[in-house]
């Protein structure tokens, strides 16, 4: 039996809008193994959340998967019926949403929302579910969980809401956890606690994790693999050491340079100049080229191929070709 949990090939997701069709995700392929953590990083608006939602089959009403397949534990999720998909969700795959305030139902108690997946998928009594729910809240570090069970989302702080979301997602011990910026609203001590919790579950259950985050510290701590996205495309992918130690794509390099360093008081921030192109912007060649300090002529005309850096590390950048023959260095634009 293979160790592969999720295998996404050539995922294309688009939106219907007043201005026509917009492609938010453009032909992304990746895989997650059991017990593996894949971190997705990339610029804000590059399509990380939409990729996650595509996997869940929960795109906004104007979004749809145009192309591609999502194989999860041997089944292609894109072809499942609504009902079959429903049975997978929450039990086998669960997701932590990015905005906890709007993602929690304002008129149902935290307790209700937490008990629901437990009772549904584990078929346990309400009382039992309540007990387990309290345990879950305790695990995510919420003080006085008994009381919180009866509260509503607007009575919680931002971080508490986020932790409630996490507790809900973890409730049924899924095989695959998709966490969209799960710890942005948490202070570092609790963040560490949550990351530990996920790590433990991963070890215990052999759970696969897809984590979307901006916090490079978190990436360094939890990731096995990292996928870097830019403007709807995957630009680089590799195991965590390789990405951190030898980032290949100019965007990845820029990203890592922008991380503020706590330990260095004199640190100066460095942002990548320019901004993310619009979804409907028609950019020929490499989508990063307008911002790329190394852009070459070929970058403007032709999409880069995918290059293998080492066994696991792949990158989509013409520079690789240049590097391979080592002759065209001078072509690098300033």
């Amino acid at each position: 039996m293979s160790n592969e949990l999720l295998y996404v090939t050539n995922l294309n997701t688009a939106f219907r809008t007043a201005d026509g069709e917009l492609s938010a995700v453009r032909g992304i392929s990746f895989s997650v193994d059991k017990g593996e953590t894949l971190c997705i990083v990339g610029e804000s608006g590059c399509g990380k959340s939409i990729t996650s939602l595509s996997l869940m089959g929960l795109l906004p009403s104007n979004g749809y998967i145009k192309e591609g397949s999502i194989d999860f534990a041997g089944r292609n999720l894109t072809t499942l019926s609504k009902e079959e998909l429903r049975k997978v969700r929450g039990k086998d795959i669960s997701m932590i949403f990015q905005e906890p305030m709007t993602a929690l139902n304002p008129v149902l108690t935290i307790g209700y929302q937490l008990r629901e997946p437990l009772m549904l998928h584990k078929k346990i009594s309400k009382r039992e579910a309540n007990k387990q729910g309290i345990d879950l809240l305790k695990q995510v570090g919420i003080p006085y969980p008994e009381k919180r069970m009866n509260q509503y989302s607007h009575e919680l702080s931002g971080g508490m809401r986020q932790r409630v979301m996490i507790a809900i997602a973890l409730a049924c011990r899924p095989q695959l956890l998709i966490a969209d910026e799960p710890t942005t609203a948490l202070d570092v001590t609790i963040q560490a606690q949550i990351l530990d919790l996920i790590q433990d579950l991963k070890d215990d259950l052999n759970m696969g994790v897809i984590m979307v985050t901006h916090d490079m510290g978190v990436v360094a701590e939890v990731a096995d693999k990292v996928m870097v996205m830019y403007a709807g495309e995957k630009v680089e992918e590799g195991d965590v050491e390789s990405i951190f130690n030898s980032p290949q794509h100019p965007y990845t390099q820029g990203l890592l340079r922008s991380v503020p360093d706590v330990d260095d008081p004199s640190f100066e921030l460095e942002a990548i100049p320019g901004s993310l192109p619009n979804l409907n912007e028609n950019i020929t060649g490499c989508r990063f080229h307008p911002r790329c300090p190394f852009a070459m002529d070929c970058c403007k005309t032709e999409s880069p191929k995918e290059y293998d850096v080492n066994g696991t590390h792949r990158v989509k950048c013409w520079l690789q070709e240049v590097r391979e023959d080592g002759s065209a260095r001078e072509k690098v634009a300033t």
Partner: protein, 331 residues
């Protein structure tokens, strides 16, 4: 960046905010969540003051209370010597021109039925006499400044990504060049590159206009980079206040230390041993007696359970509320 003449712009005096807890069949008030217990603070003109602390310790509530969005339970907030809570009508409008807030939840703070272009333009409609084409131009500039595009003008909030929405919130807050901005997790949803861009923008504005920031954040790296001083809050109380340099190099309060030790470093395998807080997490509705941190403090002794530690200036401009600081310092 020594502040020569410290002029207090915003003064918090014993600010306290309790929320009623309702329950039972008739939804009677059964107690109070003591979200902000006792916060006194001088915010100086032109500085950035970071507010950090455990999730749920009352940072957002403090921010909202300062702006008068929550009724204050006790205490006073003085802006330029006038009490904010008693402002009304036109005075209030004046104030909002000078004091702005970036909300923690950008999605919820945008009207779902308003195109974001209009949402931004509205700020100018309310406070300026600009013509509509000027306003529009301003909005385009703002969008560009926060890394969005003119094309985004006609979109609705739900058509954005989390980070994009956050930037809209930022754009809205800086639109009028206020003097004070309360940033509640203003950059948390941004990737590091955009974050860097936005932080630079905020810094530039500060340099240009002498802006003052109250910067609530969990990202201690960002706080260190961005803030001149940092307040650490725990369970509705301030527990430590120092310049960021001092705080990061010489944290005194055990909670601050635990916090700093837990920062994940962006290097693979760089994970240090962090201080794990054990013990019971206190309930804000029924905070522990004495020092609020004693239930989880590795140094806690009997006195911590009985007496609330005083807010003391241990070193110059370094305040802390802990019974055991001297002892620590000596050690």
């Amino acid at each position: 960046m020594e502040v020569l003449e410290k002029k207090s712009l915003l003064k918090l005096d014993g600010v306290q905010k309790y929320f009623p807890i309702k329950g039972g069949f008739l939804k009677r008030v059964q107690g109070h969540v003591k979200a902000v217990e006792d916060v006194s603070l001088d915010v100086y003109e032109g500085e950035s003051i970071g507010i950090v602390g455990e999730s749920g310790c009352g940072k957002s509530t403090l921010g909202r209370t300062i702006l008068g969005l929550e009724d204050i339970t006790n205490g006073k907030v003085l802006y330029k010597d006038s009490e904010i809570q008693s402002l009304s009508g036109s005075k209030w409008k004046e104030l909002t021109k000078e004091m702005q807030m970036i909300f923690q939840d950008p999605y919820a703070s945008l009207n779902p039925r308003q195109r974001i272009g209009n949402a931004l333009e509205e700020v100018f409609v309310m406070h300026t006499n600009l013509s509509s084409s000027e306003r529009r131009q301003k909005v385009y500039d703002l969008l560009k400044e926060v890394g969005l595009k003119e094309e985004h003008y006609d979109r609705y909030p739900h058509e954005f990504s989390g980070g994009q929405r956050q930037r809209i919130g930022i754009a809205r807050a800086i639109a009028l060049n206020p003097s004070v901005i309360i940033c509640d997790e203003a950059v948390s949803a941004l990737d590091v590159s955009v974050q860097a861009q936005v932080l630079k923008l905020l810094k530039n504005l500060q340099e240009k206009y002498g802006l003052t920031y109250l910067f609530i954040s969990h990202d201690l790296g960002v706080v260190r980079y961005f803030c001149d001083r940092v307040v650490v809050m725990y369970l509705g109380n301030t527990v430590e206040l120092a310049s960021s340099r001092d705080l990061y190099s010489n944290p005194l309060h055990p909670y601050t230390r635990a916090l700093l030790s837990s920062i994940p470093r962006p290097k693979v395998g760089a994970r240090k041993d962090r201080i794990r807080l054990t013990g019971e997490i206190p309930n804000p509705a029924n905070p522990p007696s004495g020092c609020p941190f004693h239930t989880r403090c590795p140094l806690a002794t009997d006195i911590c359970k009985q007496a609330k530690p005083e807010w003391r200036e241990i070193e110059k401009d370094h305040f802390v509320a802990c019974h055991h600081v001297e002892q620590e310092v000596v050690n």
